[in-house]
Each structure stands twice: as C-alpha cells, then as structure tokens.
Amino acid sequence: MFELIGIPPQAFFGQLLIGLINGAFYAMLSLGLAVIFGLLNIINFAHGALYMMGAFVAWFLLQYFGLGYWPALILSPIIVGAFGAVIERTLLRRLYHLDHLYGLLLTFGLALMIQGVFRYYFGSSGQPYTIPPLLQGGVHLGFMVLPIYRGWVVAVSLLVCLATWFIIERTRLGATLRAATENRALTQAFGINVPRMITLTYAFGVGLAAFSGVLAAPIFQVSPLMGADLIIIIFAVVVIGGMGSIMGSILTGFALGVVEGLTKVFYPEASNTVIFVVMAIVLLIKPAGLFGRAHA
C-alpha cells in the first residue's frame, strides 16, 4: 500500500511516531493551560518558559547534584511547581479583579524575563541530556524500529493526561475544583479554601509543564528558547480545542501532533504551518473551538 503512493513504511511510521510525541507535549501543555485558565482566568504565557525551566532543572540536577533522569522526573516538576506557586502568590493574585488581558501581558513579561536570564547564561545553543540506560535502544516491531524512549514518552504522557482527567472529572477533589471554577464565591462559602486551591492549581499546571520539559530533554536539546515557539503552537491548539473540556484538550493535542506528523510525510513544506491552517479552518466553521462552549 505504501509503495503505491511512494512512501516507505519506515518513514511513514517514523513521522507518525514523531507526530504522536509532539502531540503528547501539545496535550500536556494545553491541558495545563486549560486547568489554569479554568480557575485563574489567566492565560499563562509563561507556560513555554516554565516547560524550558523544567528541562533545565533536570539538567542542573544531573550536572551539579549527580541526580539522573528518574529523580529529575519527580523533583523538577516539584521545584518548578513551587516557583509557580510563588509567582501566583506574589504576582498573579493581584490581577484577578482586572481584565484577563493583563494576566496575559504579565505572564508574557515573565516569559521574557525567564528566557532572557537563561539565554544570558547559556546562549541560544542547546545542552545535551542523555537517555537513561533503562530506556535506551529500540524494539523491532516488524514494520519499523521503535526507539524505546520515544514509546515511553507517548505512554507516560498519555497516562499523565488520563490521570489528570480522572482526578478532575471523577474525584471529590476534582469536584471541588470544578465547583470553584463555576462559582468561586459560593464554593468559598462552603468552607473551602479557594485561594489555596488556586495556588495549588497554578503550581500543578506549571508542574505539568516542567514534567513535559524533563520528558523532552533527551529528545530535543535543553535550550533557553525551546519553549518560545512551542507556546504559540499550544495557543493554536487551545483555540482549536477550546478550553471547556479536559478530554477535549487531550484529544486535540494528540490529534494535531499526528496531523503535523502526517503533513511532514505528504507535504513537508506545510508542516510548520499546518496547525495554524487547521486553526483558521476551525475558526471559520466552529468559532468556539471543537470542544468549546459558545460563551467562552
């Protein structure tokens, strides 16, 4: 079949896999943005910068403390999440009574600052980060060779996304969170500490970005600008999916990664822009986004 259209299966499935990996990052990052936006009404422009920070924290841990990939996978989200909690407590908290646009501007400023500091110390070139020994090598699947690490990234990010969905949609904690999203004052009247919940939600979303950063470190190089262009793609993903639904964010993220991967196979020139084209089409057909609510 593949010979018929002149594309070798190895190339086809290779791009499909890269698409799935990119989709995994899109899903995790847009999920974090959606969770944060739901409760804080802020679009976190610093998400890409914090994703980059997650990768850098992993690199620091290895370089200066000899802590490898596995501890970094836990520690980096905690460290960056704590940093996020500080940002929320000291800066974002002052903006809740203002127009949403100020939140976007403030986090854009934060992104510039974080990226600027890392660029000052590390330039624009990347730092290598090796794949942990356990996940090195590949498996021959018959039609293609699957590098174990790439399979791991897809699997673990899918797991994390589904776990997030489960927590928010199916547990008591998630129910409280959804209640606070619907009506903050009323939830607070029921004796729930909403400000603390907001801080923890921001920390969680940011931690998720850092987790993605650690997963990305061995695939892409750890570089100060790794999140800068990514965040714009994530915005397009969020516009396409709409931020109303957790599962919607996950599905949109993975689907767009695959679409991008397939575009690389069939029409490589458009692979950079295909997501934006999809966004334009969705805006024309269903302006609220595929999973969005009309009033959002």
């Binding site: 203002l98 127009d99 100020y102 854009f108 400023g109 510039l112 714009i232 024309l284």
Partner: protein, 322 residues
Amino acid sequence: MTAIRIAGKAPVGLTAPRSQVIAFLVMVAAFLIAPLFIYPIFLAKMLCFALFACAFNLLIGYAGLLSFGHAAFFGMAAYAVGHSAKVWGWPPELAILFGVAVAAVLGLGFGILAIRRQGIYFAMVTLALAQMVYFFCLQAPFTHGEDGIQAIPRGHLFGFFNLRDTETLYFVVLAIFLIGFLIIYRAIHSPFGQVLRAIRENEPRTISLGYKPDHYKLMAFVLSAALSGLAGGTKAIVFEIATLTDVHWGTSGEVVLMTLLGGLGTVFGPVVGAFVVIGLQNYLAQIGAWVQVVQGLIFVVCVLTFRRGIVGELGRILKLKL
C-alpha cells in the same frame, strides 16, 4: 447631550480637547528641532515605531482588542517595500503604498478570522496567525530567509527628494508619521471612534442600538494593520533592510510594551512609549540578553502598578486628557 447642543457645541468626544491640540503642537515642534541634537536616522527609527505603536493602540486602546500579531503587518510591509523597490525598481512612494496595501489585505484576512473570538482568544488567534506568516517568510524565496532583503534602494521620493540625504529622509519620515498620526487622531475623534469605544464598553448594548460590532471591529483592524504597514514599510526604506526580526513575535511583543508603557488608550502615550523603549534598547544594547529581561520586567511592573502608563499618569496628575 441636549444642553450641549443648545449651547452650539459638538457632542463630547468628537472635537479634540485643547490640551491635545497644544500637546500636538509641542510634539511637532520637538520633532522639528530634534535632528539638531540627535542622529536623524535614530530619530527616524523612533518615528517608525511610534507610528507602529499608535496604530496598535487604535485597536487595544479604543476597540479593546489586544492583537499579539502586529509584527506580521509591520514585517510583511517591510518585505513588500524591499522587494518592490529593489527587485522591481519601484520609486519609494509607490513601494510604500504597495507595502500598505499588502498589510491591509493581510489585516483583512487576520481580522475576518480573529474577530470571531473575543478577549483572550483574540490575542491567541492573532499571535498564531502571525506565527504562520513568520514561517511563510522563513521559507518563501523572496524574503531571502535569514539574510533578509538587504541594500534596499532609498531612491528619490516623487523623483525629487533624494532620500539618501539623511536630513531629507528624516523630514520625509516625519511627514509620513504625522499623516499616520492624524489619520488615527481623526478616527478616534469621529463617530466611528465613538462606536468603537461603545463596543469596548458594552458590546450587547451597542448591538441593541443597531450597530454591527463586527463591521466596526474589522474596519478598525484593517486600518490598524494598514498603518502598521506604513510604519514597517517606512522602516524598510530608512534602514534599507527587511528581515525576519520584523515579522517575529518579539516585534509584536515590543509594540505591546511600547503602548502599555506609554499609556493604553491615550493619544500620545504610544509615541512616548516607543521613544522610551527604543531609547532603552539602544542604551542597553551592550548588555545583550539582559534587554529581554529588562523588557519583561517593565511588562510586569507596568501591569502590577503602572497600568495607566507614562502619559496616562501624567494626564491624571495634570487633570488633562492627553
């Protein structure tokens, strides 16, 4: 309203307050004598960015629309001017008009898509569309990729004014800036501007009064894009170069910063903001990457404590509308 009409004056907001007229005259006088003290090309750069920021402010300050993709209009116009002046050999006035037209058409496309969403989504859509333009410019052959279009000929304006002379160039740029500034000024103080403000304040009510907000938003967007194109195209003539930096999201961020720092929704704020930011960039150029950190810091400080901006605060202290 009726009382004002009986007194024989136009409705509030349609005529320029006297404070703005005086400020305008002071600004023009300052620009006329500035080349005696400051390098004209540097001043011309400031004027281009001031016009860019004023065009951007028309959207955010009066229609309440935050576009994060204005670099697309600025940069594409620069490329259009560069290509038409260098490859097709067009005179500067035609090249700049061509740049404005390209930016306006692009703005129409952006606008039709972006006004379908509001608020925060509007910002994300414009940013994403501008990124698409950036990738297009990265790949398209006429932009020459990383090199950009270099050595764009300045030529003779109307076949008469030699733009290779820096003094002449400066005054031509000043004239272009003033034309753009007055177009925006006129738009703000017209019934059109009043409707834009009404949409910003209360869109459902504007609809109930029989206006079609989408038409007004689209018109404002195209006007803003076209004037951003005028700024970008003029910049290409001044620096004789059009590069990827002009279409990059960093430029979109800079114009937001200029307007925010100067004062959103003030007439003169974007001009002041552009001068401060460009001056700062020039001053901080030696410390490289820290420019970005400083710009980020200004964003944070402005949003937290200085939301009126320089001119907005000045106007509040002096109790004047600037």
